[in-house]
């Protein structure tokens, strides 16, 4: 049979298959099938809906929001400053009664003012051994810890994303060299290296930073960021590379390409949406681990520079007066555990909501 006659045969078959019943107007009952049960959603909206149903994750989320807002706004209107030693007023002798106040206690000068009928703002958590209001130090310490956690995670994200995507796209020798480097950094004992780097950077950076705007942040926080940039990007790079390698081979990418989709369309509509959730979740889970590391270093005296407080350094300072003022340790301990716990639970909730593949 020749090619032409085959086509003719097909056309004949087609004409015979037309069923006239198909052209009768639909009945009311048939129209029912076409009614949308639920408006169509995007993957993002669907994830949000699943997240909202997860009570543990939502409670954690509200706790994080409240703590973050408090850490940002409370220092703005609070009458005391975190570095203000209340007993040391310019032009007056040092008033030691401000030091080591118990919660809601007043110094002799403040008590005198109160006796005259003036109102004095209470020291909710008392004051520390240098006469600084402890409540504002805890709030400010929370601010520092959160900021360090956030920016460290951003650094990890940017470096990991860059190296991972280069490695994934380039492939071949470049990929192999990068992945061997990643393997080695990955198997380095991170905490030991962090302590080593922090102790050395602390000494070298301080003199170099003097006079630059960075000096305000403090050499120790900068060295903490450098450490994260050097050591912690590896798992993010591995993750991004793995994502790119596996997504490139997916059938729907092939299908899109076969349908004539351009490269930019494939990246925007197929690769990014599938990649983003995994990367965002792993960044979210990086924040508590960064806060953990910062508090650990602060505890060893390698964290933030005095008089700036962080939750770890507050806990560390509290060890000196432990028998008389145990609440000075308990308060930052509770705050730090609460932050890490809520961030972890919220991160888990995010993963459950946005990455159904992981749930099996």
């Amino acid at each position: 049979m020749t090619e032409g006659s085959k086509v003719n045969e097909n056309i004949k078959n087609l004409s015979m298959q037309v069923n006239l019943d198909d052209f009768i107007p639909a009945t009311a009952e048939e129209k029912e099938y076409m009614v949308q049960m639920r408006p169509s959603t995007t993957a993002f909206k669907d994830g949000i809906r699943r997240l909202r149903k997860n009570k543990v994750a939502m409670v954690s989320f509200y706790i994080i929001v409240i703590i973050t807002l408090a850490a940002i706004f409370v220092p703005m209107f609070w009458p005391y400053k975190y570095e203000m030693m209340l007993g040391m007023q310019p032009g007056k002798p040092v008033d030691a009664t401000f030091n080591n106040l118990k919660p809601f206690e007043y110094s002799t000068t403040e008590q005198a003012l109160r006796d005259q009928g003036q109102s004095v703002f209470p020291h909710i958590f008392g004051t520390d051994s240098a006469g600084r209001d402890y409540f504002i130090r805890v709030v400010y310490g929370t601010r520092i810890s959160l900021a360090v956690g956030f920016f460290a995670s951003i650094i990890v994200l940017v470096i990991g994303l860059l190296v991972g995507s280069v490695s994934g796209y380039a492939g071949g020798k470049v990929d192999m060299v990068i992945m061997r480097i990643v393997d080695i950094i990955y198997s380095l004992p991170d905490m030991l290296m962090v302590i080593l780097l922090a102790s050395v950077l602390k000494m070298t950076l301080a003199s170099k930073l003097e006079g630059t705007p960075l000096a305000k942040i403090g050499s120790n926080i900068i060295s903490l960021f450098i450490i994260f940039a050097l050591l912690y990007w590896v798992s993010m790079a591995r993750l991004v590379r793995g994502q790119i390698l596996s997504l490139r081979e997916q059938e729907y990418v092939l299908a899109a390409q076969a349908a004539g989709a351009k490269g930019s369309w494939v990246i925007r509509k197929h690769l990014l949406p599938n990649c983003v959730s995994v990367i965002v979740i792993s960044t979210a889970l990086q924040i508590p681990s960064a806060i953990f590391t910062e508090s650990y270093l602060s505890f060893l005296g390698l964290g933030v520079n005095a008089p700036m407080p962080s939750l770890g350094s507050l806990a560390s300072d509290a060890l000196n007066g432990l028998s008389s003022y145990p609440y000075r340790l308990v308060i930052p301990a509770i705050v730090i555990s609460l932050i890490v716990l809520s961030l972890n639970l919220f991160g888990d909730g995010l993963r459950d909501a946005f990455d159904p593949k992981l749930n099996g």
Binding site: D183, I184, S187, L188, P189, M191, L192, M193, I195, L196, L197, S199, V200, M203, T204, S207, P288, F292, S295, Y296, F299, L300, G301, L302, G312, A315, S316, A318, L319, L322, S323, P326, L329, V330, A333, I336, S337, V340, L341, N344, L345
Partner: protein
Amino acid sequence: MNPKTLKYILKRIVLAIFTIWVVITLTFFIMHAVPGGPFVGEKAVTPQVQKAMEAKYGLDKPLFQQYLTYLTDVCRLRFGPSLKQRGRMVIDIIGDGLKTSAKLGVIAAAIATVLGVILGSFAALRRNTVLDRVIMVITTAFVSMPSFIMGSLLLVAFAVRSHIFPANGSTPAGLVLPVITLMLYPMSYITRLTRSSMLDVLGQDYIRTAKAKGVSRTNIIFKHALKNALIPVITYLGPELAYITTGSLVVEQIFAVPGIGRAFVNSITNRDYTLIMGTTIVLATFIVIMNLVSDIMYKVVDPRINLE
């Protein structure tokens, strides 16, 4: 052993040796990046004395030659004398500290693993009961608490307030609190790990087959389920020991335990460079080897695992 497993083990050993070399090299060059060298901060010394000291420790030679000397010394476990503790060798300080730290670490790791497996299995077998919920809530809380905070809180509660245990960790009774501090995190982690892998195993077909055959419940749990559920726990043994090692740095500091961790932290505050380098290398080597062993064990124990 099949050649694929052997190839994997060889590859991992090469990577581990390479990692240890990187640690030694990094430690050496990081320490040499410190401005002024190791004798800054000593009492005022004349330039001649400074020269003599540098010559004594070989610091006047070119950097690369110093590095090579250091590398051969490290391989022979010669870390030189401590710069701050007069007349003591670094290797002796490390050796003394290791005795206490090893005792602390081994006890903590053993209790954490055993308790974790028991609690995890119980939670899985009594799934969705009150017992399961309580275990999960407690372990979630422990996983979120840094070891130094846990240690400080225990110190307040049991040593400062109620004097049940001594606050000083140099006596056997004083080791109780440090052990508890160190074991809580790995115990909670192992509990969660065992629970989820146990649940996974209990849903497998061969458990149903065993039940159908009339195997007793005890036999099913111990011979069929637990054996398989413990495989993921093996992978965690390396990280567990690494956690306990680094955790002991602060825990020994809090409870004044005379171990290697406290020596390390003190050496950082004292800027005792040879001691910092020695301790870092010893601890890092230990962690790398532990990770290597637990990874290899994991692959050897379970033939189902794909080595690629």
